[in-house]
């Protein structure tokens, strides 16, 4: 069996594990759907600005983000429960394992967020549905980048669960609050220092939400520069995550533990 086929088998296993975790699915679906169908709708009534139109596309990105970050939990669990030792005994290279986890993390997040996207398309009419298919590969790369961040956190936390969840929460809070997922960039510019506003605009989550809002729902023509930016901010995270996880696996292979 070729290495590529083994990578795909490990990735398939991890991918199905994500969807088989009942409590996780319950949390993600209840949070994201209630954000989309309750919070966005109620805030719409409290604001003069159409928050429903603004927030519904962003919930898709929030789903993508949450699902990608779960890759870290699965890696951390594999390290803590020593399942990683079993993976390392398989006839697959360390790099192959890393690629498998990042692929599975990216794909699981994309599939999960696509289900949210379908619901978003039902409740909010989109001007250019076909554009969504052009955005998909870029969202996949972004999901792999976010999975890379999660893999880095899992490798850093080693077997200490409390640290892993703390790191994950810090990253989640920072990336979401300093982004245009929850509020428009104009409001951020008015209230936060300009350096933070620049960071919020460059945030990969902001890039993805703006892309879905502008190109798919508002129907604006796709700007290649925008998509290139999405790649520029996503790829380094995927590479960093790959390197960190690879390093962690090599350490476990040689020392038996992290």
């Amino acid at each position: 069996m070729s290495e590529a086929k083994r990578i795909l088998q490990v990735a398939r296993n991890d991918f199905s594990y994500f969807f088989r975790t009942k409590w996780l699915m319950a949390i993600l679906l209840s949070l994201n759907l209630s954000d989309m169908l309750v919070v966005a709708l109620v805030y719409r009534k409290m604001m003069t600005f159409n928050y429903f139109q603004f927030f519904v596309p962003a919930v898709v990105v929030m789903g993508l983000f949450a699902a990608s970050l779960d890759t870290g939990r699965r890696i951390w669990l594999a390290i803590r429960e020593n399942v990683i030792q079993y993976y390392l005994s398989l006839p697959i290279s360390t790099h192959g394992l890393v690629i498998a986890y990042l692929l599975a993390g990216g794909l699981a997040a994309l599939v999960y967020s696509s289900s949210l996207l379908i619901i978003a398309l039902i409740v909010l009419p989109a001007q250019a549905i076909a554009t969504i298919f052009i955005l998909m590969p870029f969202l996949f790369i972004l999901a792999m980048g976010l999975a890379g961040i999660a893999a880095t956190l899992a490798a850093l936390a080693s077997t200490h669960g409390e640290y892993f969840f703390a790191y994950q929460q810090v990253v989640q809070v920072f990336l979401l609050t300093f982004s245009t997922v929850l509020y428009p960039i104009d409001v951020i510019r008015q209230y936060l220092p300009s350096s933070l506003a620049v960071l919020a605009a460059a945030n990969p989550l902001s890039q993805a939400s703006e892309a879905i809002r502008q190109f798919a729902f508002a129907g604006a023509p796709i700007q290649p520069v925008f998509l290139a930016n999405m790649l520029i901010v996503s790829v380094p995270f995927a590479v960093l995550g790959g390197v960190a996880y690879s390093f962690a696996l090599s350490t476990i292979r040689t020392k038996g533990k992290l």
Binding site: A26, S30, V38, A166, Q169, L182
Partner: protein
């Protein structure tokens, strides 16, 4: 009583060593209030000062999360095999239940201390009585929620996985379909009827009333106090019953 306190401290010191969870709760509150709350309140035009409303809502949400954590913790212990050990100790079941309740209360007090202080400072112009009444309401709500999670533990004794899924989903829905983050008048009619089923609606509105929010935006306080009292008494009563009757023979692992 010393046995009860020893049991409380035994569990509580694990939360403090290291106090990661506590710090994370405070950090999340700070960030949510200083960035999210401040920015979203600039968009909200339907309310006078949404930041104050949001801060109280976040404290109520934290109360719910800490209360449900206490309930879930007990169920996790049952499945990790710690419960049979606790049941074998030479203390009555009532004392064991008291220890679980006290530990939940101590956790709630510690975790809420900083966020509540910040919220009260933002609102300002409060009397000792109004603050004491708000704190008492939060504790009453916390005990009610912990009791609710304990009450649901009969599901966990059949399937821990299903219990985790139900409590997780229920948690998000109870918060979203309530007046924690928005007043009842802004909820669409079909959501408003669901909000009446959420205990947080009553808790949040009663706390806000004590803290001087406009009563026209809130539920009738007598009604809210009655529902909260009924919730805490019923669910804690159910918890006592479960602990005395159903926990024997719970399988570990």
């Amino acid at each position: 009583m010393s046995n009860v306190l020893r049991l409380v401290w035994f569990d509580f010191k694990q939360e403090l060593n290291p106090p990661v969870w506590i710090i994370m709760q405070w950090f999340t509150f700070g960030m949510q209030l200083a960035v999210y709350g401040a920015l979203i309140s600039r968009l909200v035009t339907g309310l006078g000062d949404y930041l104050q409303f949001y801060a109280v809502g976040f404290v109520v949400m934290m109360t719910f999360e800490i209360g449900s954590h206490t309930g879930r913790h007990f169920v996790e212990h049952a499945h990790e095999g710690r419960l049979p050990y606790l049941l074998s100790l030479p203390i009555p079941r009532r004392a064991l239940f008291l220890a679980i309740t006290l530990q939940g209360g101590a956790e709630l007090a510690l975790l809420l201390s900083v966020p509540l202080f910040v919220t009260l400072a933002i609102i300002g112009n409060l009397t000792v009585i109004s603050v004491a009444a708000a704190v008492a309401t939060l504790f009453w709500l916390g005990f009610g929620v912990a009791g609710l999670m304990l009450g649901l533990s009969f599901i966990a004794f059949r399937s821990a996985d299903v219990y985790a899924a139900i409590t997780a989903a229920l948690g998000s829905l109870i918060i979203r379909f309530s007046t924690v983050f928005y007043p009842l008048i802004f909820l669409p009619p079909q959501y408003a009827s669901a909000a009446f089923l959420s205990p947080l609606t009553y808790g949040a509105d009663l706390v806000r009333l004590f803290l001087g929010f406009d009563p026209s935006l809130l539920l009738n306080p007598t009604y809210a106090a009655a529902v909260l009292a009924a919730l805490a008494v019923c669910t804690l009563g159910l918890g006592v019953l479960l602990l005395q009757r159903l926990v024997e023979g719970v399988k570990s692992g």
